[in-house]
Amino acid sequence: MANPSQNLGYDYTVAKWFMFACILFGIIGMGIGTLIAFQLAFPELNNIAGEYSTFGRLRPLHTNGVIYGFMLSGIWATWYYVGQRVLKVSMRESKFLMFVGKAHFIIFMITILLAVVSLFAGITTSKEYSELEWPFDIAVVVIWVLWGMSIFGLIGIRREKSLYISVWYYIAAFLGVAMLYLFNNMEVPTRLVTGMGSWIHSVSMYAGSNDALVQWWFGHNAVAFVFTVAIIAEIYYFLPKESGQPIFSYKLSLFSFWSLMFIYLWAGGHHLIYSTVPDWMQTMGSIFSVVLILPSWGSAINILLTMKGEWHQVKESPLIKFMIFASTFYMFSTLEGSIQSVKSINALAHFTDWIPGHVHDGTLGWVGFMTMAAIYHMTPRVFKKEIYSKKIMELQFTIQTLGIVLFFSSMWIAGITQGMMWRAYDDGGALLYSFIDTVVALHPYFIIRAIGGLLYLIGFFMFAYNIYKSVTSSRSIEVEPKSASPMQA
């Protein structure tokens, strides 16, 4: 066999579907995000569509749309692409796995649709990133089981004996989220117990501080296993492929994988510093969040050093640039997270805009850039077409980077300003500012943030256009490129 990857004829049907879904939900999720950012600066925008357009209704739609619509679709698109290739097995070889893949996508789309409708209607459990009510939770479990069947099914019939690093991370993402989601969504449907009231309503299994504990054990670690672990899976595959360079160090990837697995879940407690959960737990959350720097930077350094001696590629290829910047934002964002977990800094930062600022460093910079880079890399190989325009990529990169910089710098300033104003006293020992004073002070920063978000969204439209043109009207490719993705102009 000369080149098994050529002979196998990988089947990218499901990968393609998820690629389109990823772009669609990216536009919707980021569009809503931009709208709610403007709402904070211009409150009149809250009532453009009555109760369905208030910040409170749209905010969960934004987070769910981006996290579960955009990011998960991106992760699954890459899984249905990368999985086959690193395991050296085509989905075409198994009717069953093909069926599982398609069912995975279809049930996912139906669930997302139901989620959108229910969140618009205000049907929510109120737990952040876990707002869906129990019937939709069950659908999510089905989706997750199907993904698991796909992972372990493909692994079961693999030709490649050893599991590549990306597969470790996909497995971890699957297991981690499965465990967290099940425990956090334990709830009792009230109609089933009493035979009265709404069918869709449920009550949490946990109360008060316990509920908060479980929620942030989930909330923080869902971030870990969706936005970190799964995205690392992507970069460990796509960067070496695109650059033609081997991963810098196998030992470093081993070290950072296992230590990330062990340390990450302890860090959830940092959401509860100065709350009513026990002190030792807050301290543990704080300490482990600082220690978390080691595995995070371990992965990031491993990724950056993969480019050793090849840094000229960053200049030549916008795709490499996206991935290297993604890694850099990962380092930045994890460092920022650790800083915010230090108790005295948390006292200032908690409840302020610095927190959403931090989240967006990770999501826009790390996850967003990596997801778009992955789709750019897959497009020529999945559709056998060159990327339509390198110029658009370059311009998109510049606009989006500017957007991120505006976003995080305004949120840093806004957060710290707010935190300082809340604790300011006058000489007589009375609070210096009323709450509304802090809201007024943030107005300019809210505008800058919204502009930053808008720039990122514009960049995303350019990305969508570029992919659309690549698929429909770009030059065809006869032989799959070994590394650097070909670009038409």
């Binding site: 809250n46 969960p60 929510t124 009792v188 117990v193 062990f262 543990m284 927190i355």
Partner: protein, 230 residues
């Protein structure tokens, strides 16, 4: 050292699971039972307050308002005594929030009144100039879902032994009894409000709480809940 694991997906997965589950077992389980004990004098929400809590959740008020006062002087001066774990023993779900776009509401019942809330929900800038809170006109038109609120109270009583109907605790009773109590609790709130629509819809309740024309608007339930936050 781990290379054999990479050839054994089953053991690999088990290994990963054990490593990630470890933190949860150590961190969460030990604190679970002591955390759930209610503080003295803490009472579960009445059915009307629960209906209001549902409105609060439905509009995601917790996206902008916290219900957690941290133990700092600046916070206790601004909002009142800091939060204790046992105060949340009947909160399912917890509503601490994670971002303060607006102020904390944990003890808002101590310093805001029914008519203040009414004006605030109708036109926030009328009571707080420069407020960026949305207006909530639909709360004045929609009926609170009293039946689901009752179903929730009954569920937590049955499943989690929340002490409704016990001496010194709120009475729940049958749905009919509960409805009467909801009307009873709503009456002074409606009386303190000025919205004509809300008052008119409530009129039939005064004669008969079980009348099918008796309507308690979402705003009334929400204010009952906010007033109970002390």
């Amino acid at each position: 050292m781990f290379s054999w694991l990479e050839k054994n997906p089953f053991f690999f997965a088990v290994f990963v699971f054990v490593v990630i589950a470890y933190a949860g077992i150590v961190e969460i389980l030990p604190a679970f039972s002591p955390n759930a004990r209610p503080i003295e004098n803490r009472k579960p929400y009445t059915a009307l307050e629960l209906a209001g809590r549902h409105v609060y959740i439905k509009e995601s008020c917790n996206a902008c308002h916290s219900q957690l006062i941290r133990p700092f002087k600046a916070e206790t001066d601004r909002y009142g005594a800091y939060s204790k774990s046992g105060e949340y023993a009947y909160d399912r779900p917890f509503l601490w929030g994670s971002k303060r776009t607006g102020p904390d509401l944990m003890r808002v019942g101590n310093y805001r009144t029914t008519d203040w809330h009414e004006n605030h929900m109708k036109e926030p800038v009328s009571v707080v100039p420069n407020s960026i809170m949305p207006e909530y006109p639909h709360l004045f038109n929609k009926n609170a879902d009293l039946e689901t609120a009752y179903a929730e109270a009954l569920t937590v009583k049955k499943v989690f032994n929340v002490p409704y109907d016990e001496a010194g605790y709120p009475k729940l009773g049958s749905y009919e009894e509960s409805r009467k109590m909801m009307v009873e609790q709503a009456t002074p709130i409606v009386d303190a409000m000025s919205d004509e629509n809300v008052k008119k819809a409530f009129e039939p309740c005064r004669a008969n709480a079980l009348d099918s024309k008796c309507e308690i608007k979402e705003i009334v339930a929400l204010i009952a809940y906010l007033n109970s936050l002390k």
